[in-house]
């Protein structure tokens, strides 16, 4: 479980986030939603102290993130960046990097086995010795997800994990994230732009507007009035075969 209380962040005098607070339970997927520039990416990078918030507290399973060492924090919260830098590392090398917070001197057989199992789980077994720069966007995102998951985190932060993927890979990726979150009781915070993807794969929704929380809750929070207010565009929300859909315009 993650509890976020009154997070604030600014670049110099320019306030990006102010008073962002919510709580998410273990195994829940929370969609972080809002316009470009609303502070979504800044917000999730404040949670694992990639950026240091100016104010606020973050608690994971009752322990303050501020009190954790770098190693402990990396064992608690994993992060997948929006843009991943390509390197000449292989898929296995990249996933093995996720075990870094646990490594002391060398790599143990347990580390190797965990990585191998996770590579199988995301379906990249045949590509395990392929260089990252030879992978498609969808395959690369799965590698990054596997790397984050071998950190054995309690909280997983995903910054627009589907932004460069085709529809099929978008759905496959988020289905995989949701499945693993449920299986392993990981709280997942996902920055998303596609409201229909969010509705399909997230349990709760946090709308950010101009750096502050606008609305937080279950499926009922995704309504035409909220969308119009947050995104500044008209929208229709309808239900088809007991599933909610958003139509913009």
């Amino acid at each position: 479980m993650i509890e976020i209380q009154h997070i604030a962040f600014s670049y110099g005098d320019h306030a990006i986030l102010h008073d962002v607070s919510f709580t998410a339970q273990a195994g829940e997927c929370v969609g972080i939603l809002g316009n470009n520039g609303a502070g979504k990416s800044t917000f999730i990078t404040c949670l694992n102290r990639i950026r240091i918030p100016a104010a606020g507290e973050i608690w994971v399973d009752g322990k303050s993130v501020q009190s954790m060492s770098r190693r402990e924090l990396a064992q608690t919260i994993a992060y997948v960046a929006q843009a991943n830098e390509m390197s000449q590392a292989t898929v296995f090398d990249c996933v093995l990097l996720g075990r870094k917070p646990y490594l002391k001197w060398g790599v143990s057989p347990k580390d190797l086995e965990l990585c191998a199992a996770m590579i199988r789980k995301v379906g990249l077994e045949k590509l395990q010795l392929r260089n990252l720069d030879e992978l498609s966007g969808g395959e690369l995102q799965k590698v990054m997800l596997a790397r984050a998951l071998v950190q054995q985190p309690k909280v997983l932060l995903l910054d627009e994990p589907t932004s460069s993927l085709d529809p099929r890979n978008q759905y496959e990726m988020l289905a995989l994230v949701r499945q693993i979150a449920k299986e392993q009781g990981i709280t997942v915070l996902i920055v998303l732009h596609d409201l229909n993807l969010a509705l399909r794969y997230c349990d709760r929704f946090y709308f950010l507007k101009d750096g502050t929380g606008y609305r937080y809750g279950g499926e009922e929070t995704v309504d035409a009035q909220t969308i119009e207010s947050v995104y500044g565009i008209p929208a229709q929300v309808m239900r088809v075969e007991n599933r909610k859909f958003v139509m913009i315009g």
Binding site: T45, N48, R49, I50, R70, R71, L73, A74, I77, A78, Y79, A81, A83, N84, E85, M86, S87, Q88, A89, T90, F92, D93, C94, L97, G98, K100, P101, L103, P109, L112, E113, L114, C115, A116, A117, M118, I119, R120, K121, E125, Q128, L129, N131, D133, Q151, Q152, L157, E183, Q184
Partner: protein, 360 residues
């Protein structure tokens, strides 16, 4: 994660890693072979049996003198300086996220060279002696620690500027190198100015010194560079997983627990130290750091666990081979090694700029 059973996938990775160990072993053998070849090469050529005999303390006094007093210091200098410069290239490319980075391309060597020139000319840390050839004066460092300190300060000034520039938005690898050209030009101007006020002989000796030579370092200098190289290697190797994480970008590295704000400047300071000390004792030897790292990256990838030791050995081997060429191409003249490494490195450097990619 208890449900995840042990799969056969990790076995394939173990085989893959074994391949990297073979490359490392091969590089060790290549370096040893180059060292032996270097001991054999020279105006009075010694066969392998005589060299091995001399190494074991056997043989005639003449071959013992040639091997231990003339050629071995040169070989040892090539090894430690090659290791120092190539490790610098490897780590600078990693922490600056720049495949064109090395001590010479970013101006660290030129800064160190300026510092050393100031200490020799202005602070009297070196004196000229007759080289024996009758035509040129050679330089001997009388106060190695002062030269080292001044070279380090010169290298550090460049490092601080590079670090500041690397934090600016929009700095690409190529513009960083252009900044290095500007820094180098400033230091070259400074060196020229210092030389302007020196007497003719001193200017000649400093110019000769800037050609780069493996023949002027004595055992105490070799020991100093060697010790610093060892400490630097231990520092870099201790952080090998941090460097590997940095390959994925700064945010990902931070999320994996890498203290990026401390690691990047401290790594650059260590790089500045070992490259500056090398420059102080052997002059500017360009491109070794750039070439060695790119050659090894082709064979072992970006994994710093293997890239760092392989690059270090490759740098040593390259410098040994370059030195053999310099000594045997136009005997008995010994060509300046800095010129040769520049000839070898410039085409690769141009290729990398034209290609403009992140990796070679």
């Amino acid at each position: 994660m208890e449900h995840l059973s042990s799969p056969p996938t990790s076995q394939a990775y173990r085989h893959y890693i074994a391949g990297k160990w073979y490359v490392l072993l091969a590089m060790l053998l290549v370096t040893l072979a180059a060292a032996l070849a270097s001991l054999m090469a020279g105006s009075s050529g010694l066969p392998l049996t005589q060299v091995i005999g001399a190494l074991l303390g056997l043989g005639d006094p003449q071959s013992l003198t040639i091997v231990w007093n003339v050629r071995m210091p040169r070989v040892a200098t090539a090894i430690v300086v090659g290791i120092a410069l190539s490790m610098c290239g490897c780590i600078m490319q990693n922490v600056l996220r720049n495949p064109l980075a090395s001590a010479s391309t970013l101006g660290v060597s030129q800064g160190a060279s300026f510092g050393a020139a100031v200490s020799i000319i202005c602070l009297g840390a070196g004196s000229q002696i007759n080289s024996g050839s009758g035509s040129a004066a050679a330089l001997t460092i009388t106060q190695p620690y002062l030269v080292t300190l001044c070279a380090f300060l010169g290298g550090m000034i460049t490092t601080v500027v590079i670090l500041a520039l690397s934090r600016l938005r929009g700095m690409t690898p190529s513009t960083m190198v252009l900044a290095g050209v500007a820094i180098s030009a400033a230091f070259s101007g400074g060196t020229t100015l210092v030389q302007y006020f020196a007497d003719d002989v001193m200017v000649a000796t400093v110019v000769y010194w800037t050609f780069g030579s493996l023949g002027r370092a004595g055992w105490s200098e070799i020991a100093l560079i060697g010790l610093l190289c060892l400490l630097a290697f231990l520092f870099f190797f201790f952080h090998r997983w941090n460097y590997n994480a940095l390959e994925s970008g700064i945010h990902t590295a931070k999320s994996l627990g890498v203290p990026v704000e401390v690691l990047v400047p401290s790594s650059l300071v260590v790089c500045a130290l070992i490259s500056s000390v090398s420059v102080a004792f052997v002059g500017c030897i360009n491109f070794i750091g750039l070439i060695a790292c790119h050659m090894m990256r082709r064979l072992v990838g970006n994994d710093v666990r293997f890239l760092l030791p392989c690059t270090a050995l490759c740098g040593a081997a390259l410098l040994l081979v370059s030195d053999i060429i310099c000594r045997t191409l136009v005997p008995p003249t010994v060509l300046p090694i800095g010129a040769l490494t520049s000839f070898l490195g410039a085409p690769l450097f141009l290729y990398l700029i034209i290609r403009g990619g992140r990796t070679a």
